[in-house]
Protein backbone atom coordinates (compact mmCIF):
# COMPACT_ATOMS: atom_id res chain seq x y z
CA UNK A 1 0.00 0.00 0.00
CA UNK A 2 1.25 3.41 -0.82
CA UNK A 3 0.70 6.18 1.66
CA UNK A 4 0.88 9.90 1.07
CA UNK A 5 1.44 12.08 -1.96
CA UNK A 6 4.54 12.15 -4.13
CA UNK A 7 6.90 15.04 -3.42
CA UNK A 8 5.78 16.78 -6.63
CA UNK A 9 2.07 16.43 -5.91
CA UNK A 10 2.67 17.62 -2.37
CA UNK A 11 4.54 20.68 -3.58
CA UNK A 12 1.78 21.51 -6.03
CA UNK A 13 -0.79 21.13 -3.26
CA UNK A 14 1.19 23.46 -1.02
CA UNK A 15 1.68 26.01 -3.77
CA UNK A 16 -2.02 26.17 -4.58
CA UNK A 17 -2.90 26.33 -0.86
CA UNK A 18 -0.55 29.28 -0.48
CA UNK A 19 -2.02 31.00 -3.52
CA UNK A 20 -5.56 30.48 -2.24
CA UNK A 21 -4.66 31.84 1.18
CA UNK A 22 -2.68 34.85 -0.05
CA UNK A 23 -4.57 35.87 -3.17
CA UNK A 24 -8.06 34.35 -3.22
CA UNK A 25 -9.16 34.57 0.42
CA UNK A 26 -8.64 38.33 0.84
CA UNK A 27 -10.64 39.38 -2.23
CA UNK A 28 -13.16 36.70 -3.14
CA UNK A 29 -15.91 37.80 -0.74
CA UNK A 30 -16.17 41.10 -2.57
CA UNK A 31 -16.42 39.47 -6.02
CA UNK A 32 -19.00 37.11 -4.61
CA UNK A 33 -21.18 39.88 -3.26
CA UNK A 34 -20.99 41.83 -6.50
CA UNK A 35 -21.56 38.60 -8.49
CA UNK A 36 -18.50 39.59 -10.52
CA UNK A 37 -16.19 37.23 -12.38
CA UNK A 38 -12.65 37.35 -10.89
CA UNK A 39 -10.66 37.92 -14.09
CA UNK A 40 -7.54 38.87 -12.19
CA UNK A 41 -7.50 35.67 -10.15
CA UNK A 42 -8.16 33.56 -13.24
CA UNK A 43 -5.23 35.23 -14.99
CA UNK A 44 -2.98 34.47 -12.02
CA UNK A 45 -4.16 30.86 -11.96
CA UNK A 46 -3.35 30.75 -15.65
CA UNK A 47 0.19 32.01 -15.07
CA UNK A 48 0.64 29.31 -12.42
CA UNK A 49 -0.21 26.75 -15.08
CA UNK A 50 -3.31 25.44 -13.32
CA UNK A 51 -5.41 25.38 -16.50
CA UNK A 52 -2.81 23.22 -18.21
CA UNK A 53 -2.26 20.74 -15.40
CA UNK A 54 -3.34 17.46 -17.03
CA UNK A 55 -2.33 18.32 -20.60
CA UNK A 56 0.90 17.51 -22.45
CA UNK A 57 3.62 20.12 -22.76
CA UNK A 58 3.48 20.09 -26.56
CA UNK A 59 0.08 21.80 -26.36
CA UNK A 60 1.08 24.27 -23.67
CA UNK A 61 0.16 22.01 -20.76
CA UNK A 62 2.09 21.18 -17.60
CA UNK A 63 2.55 17.50 -18.40
CA UNK A 64 0.87 16.53 -15.15
CA UNK A 65 -2.02 14.18 -14.53
CA UNK A 66 -5.68 14.37 -13.62
CA UNK A 67 -4.87 13.82 -9.97
CA UNK A 68 -2.77 16.99 -9.97
CA UNK A 69 -5.85 18.87 -11.19
CA UNK A 70 -7.91 17.31 -8.38
CA UNK A 71 -5.40 18.42 -5.74
CA UNK A 72 -5.47 21.96 -7.08
CA UNK A 73 -9.27 21.96 -7.04
CA UNK A 74 -9.37 20.71 -3.48
CA UNK A 75 -7.02 23.41 -2.21
CA UNK A 76 -8.83 26.19 -4.07
CA UNK A 77 -12.25 25.03 -2.87
CA UNK A 78 -10.95 24.94 0.68
CA UNK A 79 -11.01 28.72 0.37
CA UNK A 80 -13.56 29.34 -2.37
CA UNK A 81 -15.69 27.29 -4.74
CA UNK A 82 -16.32 29.87 -7.45
CA UNK A 83 -12.69 29.97 -8.56
CA UNK A 84 -12.49 26.20 -8.16
CA UNK A 85 -15.47 25.54 -10.43
CA UNK A 86 -14.10 28.00 -12.98
CA UNK A 87 -10.93 25.90 -13.11
CA UNK A 88 -12.80 22.59 -13.05
CA UNK A 89 -15.15 23.53 -15.87
CA UNK A 90 -12.37 25.19 -17.87
CA UNK A 91 -10.15 22.13 -17.74
CA UNK A 92 -12.27 19.05 -17.37
CA UNK A 93 -15.31 20.21 -19.37
CA UNK A 94 -13.88 22.92 -21.64
CA UNK A 95 -10.46 21.70 -22.75
CA UNK A 96 -10.64 17.96 -22.01
CA UNK A 97 -13.03 16.99 -24.85
CA UNK A 98 -10.68 18.68 -27.33
CA UNK A 99 -7.65 16.97 -25.82
CA UNK A 100 -9.32 13.55 -25.72
CA UNK A 101 -11.39 13.52 -28.88
CA UNK A 102 -10.33 16.52 -30.99
CA UNK A 103 -8.33 16.45 -34.22
CA UNK A 104 -4.66 17.46 -34.23
CA UNK A 105 -5.68 20.73 -35.79
CA UNK A 106 -8.28 21.42 -33.10
CA UNK A 107 -5.74 20.63 -30.39
CA UNK A 108 -3.11 22.89 -31.88
CA UNK A 109 -5.58 25.70 -32.41
CA UNK A 110 -7.28 25.70 -29.04
CA UNK A 111 -5.30 23.94 -26.33
CA UNK A 112 -2.40 26.40 -25.93
CA UNK A 113 -4.78 29.29 -25.18
CA UNK A 114 -6.99 27.17 -22.94
CA UNK A 115 -3.96 25.79 -21.06
CA UNK A 116 -2.63 29.28 -20.36
CA UNK A 117 -5.92 30.41 -18.86
CA UNK A 118 -6.06 33.33 -21.31
CA UNK A 119 -9.14 31.71 -22.80
CA UNK A 120 -11.85 29.56 -21.28
CA UNK A 121 -13.77 26.69 -22.81
CA UNK A 122 -17.28 25.54 -21.89
CA UNK A 123 -19.30 22.37 -22.27
CA UNK A 124 -22.93 22.56 -23.33
CA UNK A 125 -24.95 19.47 -22.55
CA UNK A 126 -27.85 20.49 -20.30
CA UNK A 127 -30.98 21.89 -21.94
CA UNK A 128 -34.05 23.61 -20.52
CA UNK A 129 -35.98 20.36 -20.95
CA UNK A 130 -33.54 18.21 -18.99
CA UNK A 131 -30.04 17.61 -17.70
CA UNK A 132 -30.11 14.20 -16.06
CA UNK A 133 -31.51 12.51 -19.16
CA UNK A 134 -28.98 13.32 -21.83
CA UNK A 135 -30.97 11.39 -24.43
CA UNK A 136 -33.55 14.19 -24.19
CA UNK A 137 -31.22 16.50 -26.14
CA UNK A 138 -33.29 18.69 -28.50
CA UNK A 139 -30.55 20.90 -29.95
CA UNK A 140 -29.94 19.89 -33.57
CA UNK A 141 -27.05 20.25 -35.98
CA UNK A 142 -27.70 19.45 -39.65
CA UNK A 143 -25.09 19.36 -42.37
CA UNK A 144 -25.53 21.89 -45.17
CA UNK A 145 -22.69 21.59 -47.61
CA UNK A 146 -19.53 22.01 -45.58
CA UNK A 147 -21.23 23.50 -42.57
CA UNK A 148 -23.13 22.43 -39.49
CA UNK A 149 -26.25 24.48 -38.88
CA UNK A 150 -27.08 24.47 -35.17
CA UNK A 151 -30.42 25.29 -33.54
CA UNK A 152 -31.45 25.00 -29.90
CA UNK A 153 -30.90 26.23 -26.35
CA UNK A 154 -28.49 25.14 -23.62
CA UNK A 155 -29.01 25.87 -19.92
CA UNK A 156 -26.68 26.54 -17.01
CA UNK A 157 -23.42 26.45 -18.96
CA UNK A 158 -20.41 27.27 -16.77
CA UNK A 159 -17.77 29.66 -18.18
CA UNK A 160 -19.78 30.26 -21.35
CA UNK A 161 -20.43 33.97 -20.96
CA UNK A 162 -17.15 35.51 -19.76
CA UNK A 163 -15.12 38.07 -21.71
CA UNK A 164 -12.45 35.42 -22.23
CA UNK A 165 -14.69 32.54 -23.27
CA UNK A 166 -13.29 31.22 -26.55
CA UNK A 167 -15.54 28.28 -27.33
CA UNK A 168 -18.26 25.95 -26.23
CA UNK A 169 -18.53 22.30 -27.16
CA UNK A 170 -22.20 21.45 -27.62
CA UNK A 171 -24.02 18.16 -27.71
CA UNK A 172 -26.45 18.12 -30.64
CA UNK A 173 -28.65 15.65 -32.47
CA UNK A 174 -27.07 15.02 -35.86
CA UNK A 175 -29.36 12.30 -37.16
CA UNK A 176 -31.14 9.07 -36.29
CA UNK A 177 -29.49 5.82 -35.39
CA UNK A 178 -30.56 2.52 -36.98
CA UNK A 179 -32.65 1.73 -33.88
CA UNK A 180 -34.52 5.02 -34.24
CA UNK A 181 -32.84 6.71 -31.28
CA UNK A 182 -31.32 10.15 -31.88
CA UNK A 183 -27.68 10.23 -32.98
CA UNK A 184 -25.71 12.68 -30.84
CA UNK A 185 -22.42 14.39 -31.73
CA UNK A 186 -20.17 17.03 -30.19
CA UNK A 187 -19.59 20.23 -32.11
CA UNK A 188 -17.19 23.03 -31.29
CA UNK A 189 -18.65 26.53 -31.57
CA UNK A 190 -16.23 29.48 -31.20
CA UNK A 191 -17.48 32.52 -29.28
CA UNK A 192 -18.63 35.24 -31.63
CA UNK A 193 -19.97 32.90 -34.31
CA UNK A 194 -23.07 34.56 -35.83
CA UNK A 195 -26.25 32.87 -34.62
CA UNK A 196 -24.67 32.00 -31.24
CA UNK A 197 -25.77 34.32 -28.44
CA UNK A 198 -26.11 34.41 -24.68
CA UNK A 199 -29.58 34.04 -23.21
CA UNK A 200 -30.59 34.89 -19.66
CA UNK A 201 -28.15 35.47 -16.82
CA UNK A 202 -29.07 33.35 -13.85
CA UNK A 203 -29.49 34.72 -10.36
CA UNK A 204 -27.86 31.89 -8.40
CA UNK A 205 -27.95 30.78 -4.77
CA UNK A 206 -24.22 30.04 -4.78
CA UNK A 207 -21.05 30.00 -6.94
CA UNK A 208 -21.73 33.70 -7.31
CA UNK A 209 -18.27 34.63 -8.54
CA UNK A 210 -18.47 32.07 -11.34
CA UNK A 211 -20.14 32.47 -14.71
CA UNK A 212 -23.23 30.46 -15.67
CA UNK A 213 -25.15 31.40 -18.80
CA UNK A 214 -27.87 30.23 -21.09
CA UNK A 215 -26.87 29.75 -24.73
CA UNK A 216 -29.06 30.26 -27.76
CA UNK A 217 -28.25 28.85 -31.20
CA UNK A 218 -30.26 30.24 -34.07
CA UNK A 219 -29.11 28.93 -37.45
CA UNK A 220 -25.58 29.10 -36.15
CA UNK A 221 -23.13 27.90 -38.81
CA UNK A 222 -19.70 26.38 -38.17
CA UNK A 223 -17.38 24.45 -40.52
CA UNK A 224 -17.91 20.72 -40.83
CA UNK A 225 -14.42 20.23 -39.39
CA UNK A 226 -15.68 21.56 -36.04
CA UNK A 227 -17.06 18.13 -35.24
CA UNK A 228 -15.21 16.90 -32.12
CA UNK A 229 -14.44 13.20 -32.25
CA UNK A 230 -16.63 10.95 -34.36
CA UNK A 231 -20.10 11.67 -35.65
CA UNK A 232 -22.64 9.74 -33.60
CA UNK A 233 -20.17 9.10 -30.79
CA UNK A 234 -21.17 12.21 -28.84
CA UNK A 235 -23.06 10.28 -26.18
CA UNK A 236 -20.16 7.97 -25.33
CA UNK A 237 -17.71 10.88 -25.47
CA UNK A 238 -19.51 13.07 -22.99
CA UNK A 239 -20.16 10.15 -20.68
CA UNK A 240 -16.39 9.72 -20.51
CA UNK A 241 -15.94 13.45 -19.84
CA UNK A 242 -18.58 13.33 -17.10
CA UNK A 243 -17.14 10.20 -15.47
CA UNK A 244 -13.78 11.94 -15.06
CA UNK A 245 -15.45 15.21 -14.13
CA UNK A 246 -17.11 13.50 -11.17
CA UNK A 247 -13.72 12.84 -9.61
CA UNK A 248 -12.86 16.51 -10.05
CA UNK A 249 -16.17 17.64 -8.52
CA UNK A 250 -15.58 15.21 -5.66
CA UNK A 251 -12.17 16.84 -5.05
CA UNK A 252 -13.80 20.25 -5.08
CA UNK A 253 -16.45 19.06 -2.61
CA UNK A 254 -13.75 17.64 -0.32
CA UNK A 255 -12.07 21.05 -0.40
CA UNK A 256 -15.26 22.75 0.70
CA UNK A 257 -15.76 20.14 3.44
CA UNK A 258 -12.19 20.65 4.66
CA UNK A 259 -12.54 24.43 4.51
CA UNK A 260 -15.48 24.05 6.92
CA UNK A 261 -13.19 22.19 9.33
CA UNK A 262 -10.44 24.84 9.01
CA UNK A 263 -12.83 27.68 9.75
CA UNK A 264 -14.63 25.88 12.57
CA UNK A 265 -11.40 24.93 14.33
CA UNK A 266 -10.24 28.52 14.26
CA UNK A 267 -13.54 29.95 15.45
CA UNK A 268 -14.12 27.35 18.16
CA UNK A 269 -10.74 28.26 19.67
CA UNK A 270 -11.60 31.99 19.76
CA UNK A 271 -15.28 32.34 20.48
CA UNK A 272 -16.43 32.36 24.07
CA UNK A 273 -19.85 31.63 25.50
CA UNK A 274 -20.85 31.09 29.14
CA UNK A 275 -17.29 31.95 30.15
CA UNK A 276 -15.61 29.23 28.11
CA UNK A 277 -14.29 28.73 24.59
CA UNK A 278 -17.05 27.08 22.59
CA UNK A 279 -14.42 24.54 21.46
CA UNK A 280 -14.26 23.22 25.01
CA UNK A 281 -17.81 21.91 24.72
CA UNK A 282 -18.08 18.29 23.71
CA UNK A 283 -21.04 19.10 21.47
CA UNK A 284 -18.81 21.36 19.35
CA UNK A 285 -15.82 18.99 19.46
CA UNK A 286 -17.91 16.08 18.25
CA UNK A 287 -19.38 18.19 15.48
CA UNK A 288 -15.90 19.10 14.27
CA UNK A 289 -14.69 15.51 14.67
CA UNK A 290 -17.58 14.35 12.48
CA UNK A 291 -16.77 17.04 9.93
CA UNK A 292 -13.12 15.96 9.73
CA UNK A 293 -14.23 12.33 9.42
CA UNK A 294 -16.48 13.14 6.46
CA UNK A 295 -13.81 15.19 4.71
CA UNK A 296 -11.20 12.49 5.24
CA UNK A 297 -13.31 9.55 4.04
CA UNK A 298 -14.52 11.51 1.01
CA UNK A 299 -10.90 12.36 0.16
CA UNK A 300 -9.97 8.68 0.27
CA UNK A 301 -12.87 7.95 -2.07
CA UNK A 302 -11.70 10.43 -4.69
CA UNK A 303 -8.03 9.44 -4.33
CA UNK A 304 -9.12 5.84 -5.02
CA UNK A 305 -11.21 6.78 -8.08
CA UNK A 306 -8.38 8.93 -9.46
CA UNK A 307 -5.75 6.25 -8.96
CA UNK A 308 -7.91 3.70 -10.78
CA UNK A 309 -8.45 6.11 -13.63
CA UNK A 310 -4.72 6.86 -13.93
CA UNK A 311 -3.93 3.14 -13.84
CA UNK A 312 -6.29 2.63 -16.78
CA UNK A 313 -8.68 0.51 -14.72
CA UNK A 314 -12.49 0.83 -14.72
CA UNK A 315 -13.42 3.69 -12.40
CA UNK A 316 -17.04 4.59 -13.19
CA UNK A 317 -18.48 3.19 -9.97
CA UNK A 318 -15.73 4.63 -7.78
CA UNK A 319 -16.10 8.04 -9.41
CA UNK A 320 -19.85 8.02 -8.74
CA UNK A 321 -19.25 6.91 -5.14
CA UNK A 322 -16.66 9.64 -4.65
CA UNK A 323 -18.98 12.32 -5.98
CA UNK A 324 -21.87 11.06 -3.87
CA UNK A 325 -20.00 10.93 -0.56
CA UNK A 326 -18.03 14.10 -1.19
CA UNK A 327 -21.08 16.20 -2.04
CA UNK A 328 -22.84 14.78 1.05
CA UNK A 329 -19.80 15.67 3.13
CA UNK A 330 -19.78 19.20 1.72
CA UNK A 331 -23.48 19.70 2.50
CA UNK A 332 -23.25 18.23 6.01
CA UNK A 333 -20.07 20.11 6.87
CA UNK A 334 -21.41 23.41 5.55
CA UNK A 335 -24.49 23.00 7.71
CA UNK A 336 -22.44 22.11 10.80
CA UNK A 337 -19.84 24.83 10.26
CA UNK A 338 -22.57 27.43 9.97
CA UNK A 339 -23.96 26.10 13.26
CA UNK A 340 -20.55 26.41 14.96
CA UNK A 341 -20.43 30.05 13.86
CA UNK A 342 -23.89 30.81 15.19
CA UNK A 343 -25.38 34.04 13.86
CA UNK A 344 -22.10 35.04 12.23
CA UNK A 345 -22.33 31.89 10.14
CA UNK A 346 -25.43 33.30 8.51
CA UNK A 347 -23.68 36.50 7.44
CA UNK A 348 -21.47 37.06 4.43
CA UNK A 349 -18.72 38.28 6.71
CA UNK A 350 -17.24 34.81 7.24
CA UNK A 351 -16.44 32.24 4.56
CA UNK A 352 -18.75 29.62 6.09
CA UNK A 353 -21.77 31.57 4.84
CA UNK A 354 -20.36 31.21 1.35
CA UNK A 355 -19.61 27.52 1.94
CA UNK A 356 -23.23 27.01 2.95
CA UNK A 357 -24.52 28.61 -0.24
CA UNK A 358 -21.96 26.86 -2.45
CA UNK A 359 -22.49 23.32 -1.11
CA UNK A 360 -25.93 22.53 -2.50
CA UNK A 361 -25.01 22.66 -6.20
CA UNK A 362 -22.51 19.85 -5.58
CA UNK A 363 -25.45 17.45 -5.19
CA UNK A 364 -26.83 18.64 -8.54
CA UNK A 365 -24.13 19.57 -11.08
CA UNK A 366 -22.36 16.99 -13.28
CA UNK A 367 -24.95 14.39 -12.36
CA UNK A 368 -27.35 14.67 -9.41
CA UNK A 369 -26.97 12.43 -6.38
CA UNK A 370 -29.86 10.36 -7.73
CA UNK A 371 -27.97 9.90 -10.98
CA UNK A 372 -24.86 8.80 -9.03
CA UNK A 373 -26.96 6.17 -7.24
CA UNK A 374 -28.37 5.02 -10.57
CA UNK A 375 -24.84 4.63 -11.94
CA UNK A 376 -23.67 2.70 -8.88
CA UNK A 377 -26.71 0.38 -8.99
CA UNK A 378 -26.23 -0.29 -12.71
CA UNK A 379 -22.57 -0.98 -12.23
CA UNK A 380 -23.61 -3.55 -9.61
CA UNK A 381 -25.61 -5.26 -12.34
CA UNK A 382 -29.09 -4.03 -11.46
CA UNK A 383 -31.57 -3.46 -14.30
CA UNK A 384 -31.74 -0.04 -15.95
Amino acid sequence: MQHGLSAEHEELRRTVAEFARDHVAPVIGDYYEREAFPYDLVARMGRMGLFGLPFPEEHGGMGGDYFALCLALEELARVDSSVAITLEAGVSLGAMPIHRFGSDEQRETWLPRLCSGEALGAFGLTEPGGGSDASATRTTARLEGDQWVINGTKSFITNSGTDITALVTVAAVTGKRDDGAPEISMILVPTGTPGFSLGQRYSKVGWNASDTSELVFDDCRVPRTNLVGRQGRGYAQFLRVLDEGRIAIAALAVGLAQGCVDESLRYAAEREAFGARIGSHQAIQFKIADMETRAHTARLAYYDAASRMLAGEPFKRQAAIAKLVASNAAMDNARDATQVFGGYGFTNEYPVGRFYRDAKILEIGEGTSEVQRMLIARDLGMPA
Partner: protein, 259 residues
Protein backbone atom coordinates in the same frame (compact mmCIF):
# COMPACT_ATOMS: atom_id res chain seq x y z
CA UNK B 1 24.75 36.49 -17.23
CA UNK B 2 25.40 34.17 -14.32
CA UNK B 3 23.30 35.07 -11.33
CA UNK B 4 23.58 33.60 -7.87
CA UNK B 5 20.61 34.06 -5.57
CA UNK B 6 21.10 33.58 -1.86
CA UNK B 7 18.29 31.71 -0.20
CA UNK B 8 17.98 31.27 3.51
CA UNK B 9 15.53 28.87 5.08
CA UNK B 10 13.82 30.46 8.05
CA UNK B 11 11.11 29.32 10.46
CA UNK B 12 7.64 30.08 9.12
CA UNK B 13 6.56 33.38 10.65
CA UNK B 14 3.00 32.06 10.65
CA UNK B 15 3.91 29.42 13.25
CA UNK B 16 5.14 29.85 16.82
CA UNK B 17 8.92 30.11 17.11
CA UNK B 18 10.92 28.75 20.03
CA UNK B 19 14.46 29.18 21.34
CA UNK B 20 16.51 26.20 22.44
CA UNK B 21 17.32 26.63 26.10
CA UNK B 22 20.84 25.19 25.97
CA UNK B 23 22.75 27.32 23.44
CA UNK B 24 20.44 30.31 22.89
CA UNK B 25 19.84 29.57 19.23
CA UNK B 26 16.56 29.14 17.49
CA UNK B 27 14.97 25.71 17.71
CA UNK B 28 14.74 25.11 13.99
CA UNK B 29 13.23 21.65 14.34
CA UNK B 30 10.24 23.10 16.22
CA UNK B 31 8.75 25.02 13.31
CA UNK B 32 8.25 24.55 9.59
CA UNK B 33 11.03 25.92 7.43
CA UNK B 34 10.17 28.24 4.57
CA UNK B 35 12.16 30.42 2.19
CA UNK B 36 12.94 33.77 3.80
CA UNK B 37 10.23 35.97 2.31
CA UNK B 38 12.53 38.57 0.76
CA UNK B 39 14.56 35.82 -0.87
CA UNK B 40 11.50 34.96 -2.99
CA UNK B 41 11.77 38.48 -4.39
CA UNK B 42 15.49 37.94 -4.92
CA UNK B 43 14.76 34.72 -6.84
CA UNK B 44 12.12 36.48 -8.93
CA UNK B 45 14.55 39.28 -9.75
CA UNK B 46 17.19 36.73 -10.72
CA UNK B 47 14.72 34.97 -13.00
CA UNK B 48 13.58 38.25 -14.59
CA UNK B 49 17.19 39.24 -15.27
CA UNK B 50 17.88 35.83 -16.75
CA UNK B 51 14.80 36.09 -18.97
CA UNK B 52 16.08 39.45 -20.21
CA UNK B 53 19.80 38.79 -20.50
CA UNK B 54 20.13 35.01 -20.70
CA UNK B 55 22.47 32.97 -18.53
CA UNK B 56 21.80 30.87 -15.48
CA UNK B 57 20.37 31.29 -12.00
CA UNK B 58 22.10 29.36 -9.24
CA UNK B 59 20.66 29.11 -5.74
CA UNK B 60 23.12 29.21 -2.85
CA UNK B 61 21.97 28.13 0.59
CA UNK B 62 23.79 27.58 3.81
CA UNK B 63 21.77 25.66 6.33
CA UNK B 64 20.88 22.26 7.75
CA UNK B 65 19.55 19.27 5.82
CA UNK B 66 15.92 20.46 5.96
CA UNK B 67 16.88 23.47 3.86
CA UNK B 68 16.57 21.17 0.82
CA UNK B 69 12.82 21.91 0.93
CA UNK B 70 13.51 25.57 0.28
CA UNK B 71 16.07 24.74 -2.40
CA UNK B 72 13.51 22.56 -4.16
CA UNK B 73 10.99 25.37 -4.09
CA UNK B 74 13.51 27.84 -5.48
CA UNK B 75 14.27 25.40 -8.31
CA UNK B 76 10.52 24.98 -8.89
CA UNK B 77 10.21 28.70 -9.40
CA UNK B 78 12.65 28.31 -12.29
CA UNK B 79 16.23 28.50 -11.00
CA UNK B 80 18.64 26.22 -12.88
CA UNK B 81 20.72 24.64 -10.15
CA UNK B 82 21.69 24.93 -6.52
CA UNK B 83 24.63 24.76 -4.16
CA UNK B 84 23.89 23.70 -0.60
CA UNK B 85 26.51 24.26 2.07
CA UNK B 86 25.68 22.05 5.01
CA UNK B 87 27.94 21.07 7.86
CA UNK B 88 27.50 20.52 11.59
CA UNK B 89 30.46 22.81 12.14
CA UNK B 90 28.45 25.78 10.86
CA UNK B 91 25.88 25.55 13.63
CA UNK B 92 25.68 28.78 15.57
CA UNK B 93 27.69 30.86 13.10
CA UNK B 94 26.86 34.55 13.40
CA UNK B 95 26.29 37.01 10.58
CA UNK B 96 29.97 37.75 9.87
CA UNK B 97 30.90 34.08 9.93
CA UNK B 98 27.96 33.25 7.67
CA UNK B 99 29.11 35.92 5.23
CA UNK B 100 32.61 34.48 5.28
CA UNK B 101 31.36 30.95 4.68
CA UNK B 102 29.04 32.04 1.86
CA UNK B 103 31.86 34.02 0.25
CA UNK B 104 33.98 30.87 0.20
CA UNK B 105 31.21 28.93 -1.48
CA UNK B 106 30.77 31.78 -3.98
CA UNK B 107 34.46 31.55 -4.76
CA UNK B 108 33.70 28.22 -6.45
CA UNK B 109 30.92 29.62 -8.65
CA UNK B 110 31.39 31.87 -11.65
CA UNK B 111 29.03 34.77 -11.16
CA UNK B 112 28.30 38.22 -12.52
CA UNK B 113 25.72 39.12 -9.95
CA UNK B 114 24.74 37.99 -6.47
CA UNK B 115 21.16 38.80 -5.48
CA UNK B 116 19.88 38.46 -1.93
CA UNK B 117 17.10 39.66 0.34
CA UNK B 118 17.86 42.83 2.28
CA UNK B 119 17.11 41.07 5.55
CA UNK B 120 15.93 37.78 6.95
CA UNK B 121 12.83 37.30 9.06
CA UNK B 122 14.69 35.40 11.79
CA UNK B 123 18.13 36.86 12.60
CA UNK B 124 17.27 40.15 10.86
CA UNK B 125 20.73 41.66 11.03
CA UNK B 126 20.44 42.98 7.48
CA UNK B 127 24.21 42.96 7.11
CA UNK B 128 24.67 40.00 4.79
CA UNK B 129 24.78 42.03 1.56
CA UNK B 130 27.42 44.42 2.88
CA UNK B 131 29.54 41.76 4.61
CA UNK B 132 29.49 39.48 1.61
CA UNK B 133 30.48 42.25 -0.81
CA UNK B 134 33.38 43.08 1.48
CA UNK B 135 34.61 39.50 1.59
CA UNK B 136 34.22 39.16 -2.18
CA UNK B 137 35.81 42.55 -2.88
CA UNK B 138 32.97 43.64 -5.17
CA UNK B 139 30.56 46.61 -5.05
CA UNK B 140 27.43 46.40 -2.92
CA UNK B 141 24.12 47.89 -4.05
CA UNK B 142 21.66 47.52 -1.21
CA UNK B 143 17.90 48.00 -0.74
CA UNK B 144 17.20 47.89 -4.47
CA UNK B 145 13.64 48.30 -5.69
CA UNK B 146 14.66 48.38 -9.35
CA UNK B 147 17.61 46.77 -11.12
CA UNK B 148 18.86 47.44 -14.64
CA UNK B 149 21.79 45.71 -16.25
CA UNK B 150 23.40 46.99 -19.42
CA UNK B 151 26.49 45.09 -20.49
CA UNK B 152 28.88 45.27 -17.57
CA UNK B 153 27.07 48.19 -15.95
CA UNK B 154 24.47 47.75 -13.27
CA UNK B 155 22.16 50.49 -12.07
CA UNK B 156 19.77 50.20 -9.15
CA UNK B 157 17.16 52.37 -7.58
CA UNK B 158 17.93 52.29 -3.87
CA UNK B 159 15.03 52.82 -1.51
CA UNK B 160 15.65 55.43 1.19
CA UNK B 161 13.54 57.23 3.80
CA UNK B 162 13.27 60.32 1.59
CA UNK B 163 12.79 58.69 -1.80
CA UNK B 164 15.46 56.78 -3.64
CA UNK B 165 19.06 57.01 -4.73
CA UNK B 166 20.24 55.88 -8.13
CA UNK B 167 23.41 53.87 -7.69
CA UNK B 168 25.66 52.48 -10.41
CA UNK B 169 28.47 49.96 -10.40
CA UNK B 170 30.38 47.53 -12.57
CA UNK B 171 29.68 43.81 -12.53
CA UNK B 172 30.38 41.58 -10.69
CA UNK B 173 28.38 43.01 -7.82
CA UNK B 174 26.12 42.17 -4.89
CA UNK B 175 22.53 43.47 -4.87
CA UNK B 176 20.11 43.22 -1.97
CA UNK B 177 16.44 43.71 -2.78
CA UNK B 178 13.34 45.03 -1.02
CA UNK B 179 9.76 43.85 -1.30
CA UNK B 180 8.65 46.59 -3.69
CA UNK B 181 10.91 45.31 -6.47
CA UNK B 182 8.57 42.73 -8.02
CA UNK B 183 5.92 40.11 -7.35
CA UNK B 184 7.36 36.61 -6.93
CA UNK B 185 5.85 33.95 -9.18
CA UNK B 186 4.34 30.69 -8.00
CA UNK B 187 6.01 27.49 -9.11
CA UNK B 188 4.18 25.81 -11.98
CA UNK B 189 3.69 22.06 -11.98
CA UNK B 190 5.92 21.66 -15.03
CA UNK B 191 8.78 23.32 -13.17
CA UNK B 192 7.98 21.39 -9.98
CA UNK B 193 8.43 18.17 -11.94
CA UNK B 194 11.59 19.42 -13.61
CA UNK B 195 13.03 20.59 -10.30
CA UNK B 196 13.78 17.08 -9.10
CA UNK B 197 16.13 16.59 -12.05
CA UNK B 198 18.06 19.81 -11.50
CA UNK B 199 21.53 19.50 -10.00
CA UNK B 200 22.02 20.32 -6.32
CA UNK B 201 25.66 20.34 -5.27
CA UNK B 202 26.19 19.54 -1.59
CA UNK B 203 29.24 21.08 0.03
CA UNK B 204 30.78 20.42 3.43
CA UNK B 205 33.06 23.08 4.89
CA UNK B 206 36.01 21.06 3.65
CA UNK B 207 34.60 21.02 0.08
CA UNK B 208 34.08 24.78 0.16
CA UNK B 209 37.47 25.31 1.81
CA UNK B 210 35.87 27.04 4.75
CA UNK B 211 38.22 27.33 7.69
CA UNK B 212 36.62 25.43 10.59
CA UNK B 213 38.30 27.79 13.05
CA UNK B 214 36.38 30.73 11.60
CA UNK B 215 32.83 29.35 11.87
CA UNK B 216 30.50 27.84 14.46
CA UNK B 217 29.16 28.91 17.82
CA UNK B 218 32.48 28.46 19.62
CA UNK B 219 34.23 30.88 17.27
CA UNK B 220 31.45 33.41 16.88
CA UNK B 221 32.51 37.06 16.76
CA UNK B 222 29.40 37.98 18.68
CA UNK B 223 28.00 36.35 21.76
CA UNK B 224 24.36 36.06 22.63
CA UNK B 225 24.39 36.99 26.29
CA UNK B 226 20.75 36.43 26.98
CA UNK B 227 17.57 35.61 25.10
CA UNK B 228 13.95 36.01 26.11
CA UNK B 229 10.73 35.37 24.24
CA UNK B 230 8.91 38.49 23.07
CA UNK B 231 6.24 39.54 25.56
CA UNK B 232 2.69 38.96 24.33
CA UNK B 233 1.22 42.00 22.67
CA UNK B 234 -0.90 44.13 25.02
CA UNK B 235 -4.48 44.77 24.02
CA UNK B 236 -4.86 47.88 21.88
CA UNK B 237 -7.01 50.90 22.62
CA UNK B 238 -10.27 51.06 20.75
CA UNK B 239 -11.60 54.50 19.94
CA UNK B 240 -15.34 54.43 19.26
CA UNK B 241 -16.47 57.13 16.88
CA UNK B 242 -19.45 58.83 18.42
CA UNK B 243 -19.02 62.07 16.55
CA UNK B 244 -15.60 63.03 17.97
CA UNK B 245 -13.54 59.96 17.03
CA UNK B 246 -11.11 62.10 15.05
CA UNK B 247 -10.41 64.39 18.01
CA UNK B 248 -9.87 61.40 20.31
CA UNK B 249 -7.40 59.81 17.91
CA UNK B 250 -5.51 63.09 17.57
CA UNK B 251 -5.35 63.38 21.37
CA UNK B 252 -4.13 59.81 21.65
CA UNK B 253 -1.38 60.40 19.11
CA UNK B 254 -0.36 63.64 20.81
CA UNK B 255 -0.23 61.92 24.18
CA UNK B 256 2.11 59.27 22.74
CA UNK B 257 4.16 62.05 21.13
CA UNK B 258 3.56 60.73 17.60
CA UNK B 259 2.40 64.17 16.47
Amino acid sequence: MNIVVLVKQVPDTATERKLTSDDKTLDRAASDGVINELDEYAIEEGLLLKEKHGGEVTILTMGPEQATDSIRKALSMGADKAVHVSDEALHGSDALQSAYALSRALGRIEFDLVVLGSESTDARTGVMGAALAEYLGVPQLTLADKVDVDGQAIKVQRLTDYGYDVVEAELPAVVSVVEKINEPRYPSFKLIMQAKKKPVEKLTIADAEIDAARVGLANATTETVDVAPAPPRAAGTIVKDEGEGGVKIAEFLAEKKFV
